[in-house]
Symmetry: none
Subunit: 192 residues, 4 copies
DNA sequence: AATGAATGAGGTTTCATTCAT
DNA sequence: AATGAATGAAACCTCATTCAT
């Protein structure tokens, strides 16, 4: 098995790096459009490369999905760090972070499906990214809790768990289902 | 297209009825064990019948899943009607119903996956069962709301939506994920 | 293997005989409509009996087809015997027989397909009927040949062969294909 | 839908072209040996490739059969063009063409079956090839007719039709069936 | 004798992954 | 490093035939 590019063993050639991006973006697009059953061939076509190239960059379909998930988690983390740098009423800042990340999620709900389908495996494949997300999040929560604006018994893991629930609503189109509403229920519940 | 048994055109022969049950039970078991990608052949083997028999009863994999889902919804509805007949503090009765139904869910979380995977389609295939569930549930909620123990703006559809979130936690095994905890958060949300 | 009804081992009960007819007629109809890939279930449904009943009467799909073919050959033979009894110019009488039998054929061209698909097997399954057909046909041909109106080198087998060709045109819908025209060519071939 | 090779979108890679040939040849062989019910797996095995490869080249069994038929028609056409270039008594040249093409046919009579089974569809899938065949054939016939050696009322379409009849004899093994004899009847009939 | 449910070998097709070019 | 053709293990589904009722 060859060294995967994502492990950054050595700096990539410029064109390889460009392909890497195009594949990831293509994957995001086709999974968003056709769901997880989209085929690697579709990803390749969308990315404008051959299947072989996809496999050179990601040894397996699961690995590709995994990277998409990790990317998303990195965006979440980035947003969290930004929130941390922001001035303002702590609970409001935190609530806005949840709203913002939810918007990121909904952009391609299929990745959400991936997150679910992966189930237990995800924590293994995104350990690092999860921690990078949890660190600033925990700090934001601590601030809000110290200010007496957030339930003191809620933990970062609870947030992941509850937000997974909100994501589930995104992929579901039940009668009267509305993830914005779901999210506001969650935020309300966290308050005080 | 052949008449599917589920349409109850005519009373089934004794052996057919028995097989129908065995198939459904077998399906529940293999989906619980191997997830949704379990194959019809596996279902057949587990049920102790030939593949053809499975296809005679359920023309397609989706139809089989659909029936499993409907069955589950019927159990939910049954529990709701029982709760309605029960004496006691309205909110507590309702909360217990949620807890009880959640336990039913977790028995075979894979069906939950099906519920998710179905997404938008489910409401079409389980219209009737959903209504049978919603009727008593709405009545229970109205009681709790009249007693001032439940948020007055919550609707039955909200309950479905929030419980789907809880189900998502069942299928996910994140760090610190605990659906009991998720459920209690939800119950808290609904209070007053 | 059970005794097939077609072998007339013992007189059939009235209802069995009726079913036998209905099955044969149903088979003729569905094979004519859907071609040879029509299923035994279709035959049974059309005949208004269960599959099991079809199998009681005909041990196999091929046997059913075989009987249909034999029936057709019996009609041909019947027509040939009638022609033999008729007065008139020998070649004309013979040509009319061919035209008449061709009309019988076209009624359900699918049986023709069966005749073709069977290929080499048919002569084994319809030996008797073929002879019953060939006897009067040979006599008719001899008359025409004695009268100097038909090529003297043509044999009964040639007629079967040439008429199979005409049948092929019936099942084929090529551009400009017209079995009436094909048949008249054949009749011309035979003349003097 | 993937681009089928037969559409000649771009020059095939050397190995793909080789496989294309091998598949076609394998198909010809197994259909000749086992008839039309030969399976794609058999074709693949005979060609020494995987099933997937067969499906990459021909999206469906019918497509594969179709190409075989078209190939055969191209050989017929090629022979017709050669005959056109030949010196000699026009009717004799034409008769020899029929004999030659009949020999091509008999090489793998199963394709003939395909031709029949296709029935009405064939003209749609082989329009071009049919015209390529009909053009020189019509010219050869015109010559013979102008020379007063061929019946003036026969058309190219009649030839197709009559030759289909001869082909039927090839696939049938009735008692006394002999396609050479059938063909000579046809040729005789066309004379003058 | 009739019924139709059950059977399961067999058929077509898909698609993640490998490998020759 | 890139390409896309090749692979073949599955997956789904059909249907001639058997067998319990």
């Amino acid at each position: 098995m060859t060294t995967t590019v994502t492990e950054h063993r050595r700096p990539l050639r410029a064109d390889a790096r460009r392909n890497h991006e195009r594949i990831l973006e293509g994957a995001r697009a086709v999974f968003a459009e056709y769901g997880l059953e989209a085929q690697i061939d579709d990803v390749a076509r969308r990315a404008g490369v051959g299947v072989g190239t996809v496999y050179r960059h990601f040894p397996t379909k699961e690995a590709l999905l995994g990277e998409l998930v990790r990317r998303k988690l990195r965006v979440f983390a980035e947003n969290a760090r930004e929130a941390l740098a922001r001035e303002g009423e702590p609970f409001g800042v935190f609530a806005d972070l949840l709203r913002r990340n939810a918007e990121v999620c909904v952009a391609d709900a299929a990745i959400q499906h991936a997150l679910m389908a992966f189930g237990q495996h995800i924590s293994m494949h995104a350990q690092v990214e999860l921690e990078e997300l949890n660190k600033p999040t925990a700090e934001l929560m601590a601030r809000a809790q110290r200010a007496g604006a957030m339930r003191p018994d809620v933990t970062v893991d609870d947030i992941s768990m509850l937000m997974c629930g909100v994501s589930a609503t995104m992929t579901q189109t039940g009668p009267g289902f509305d993830w914005h509403r779901h999210l506001e229920f969650v935020i309300d519940m966290l308050r005080r």
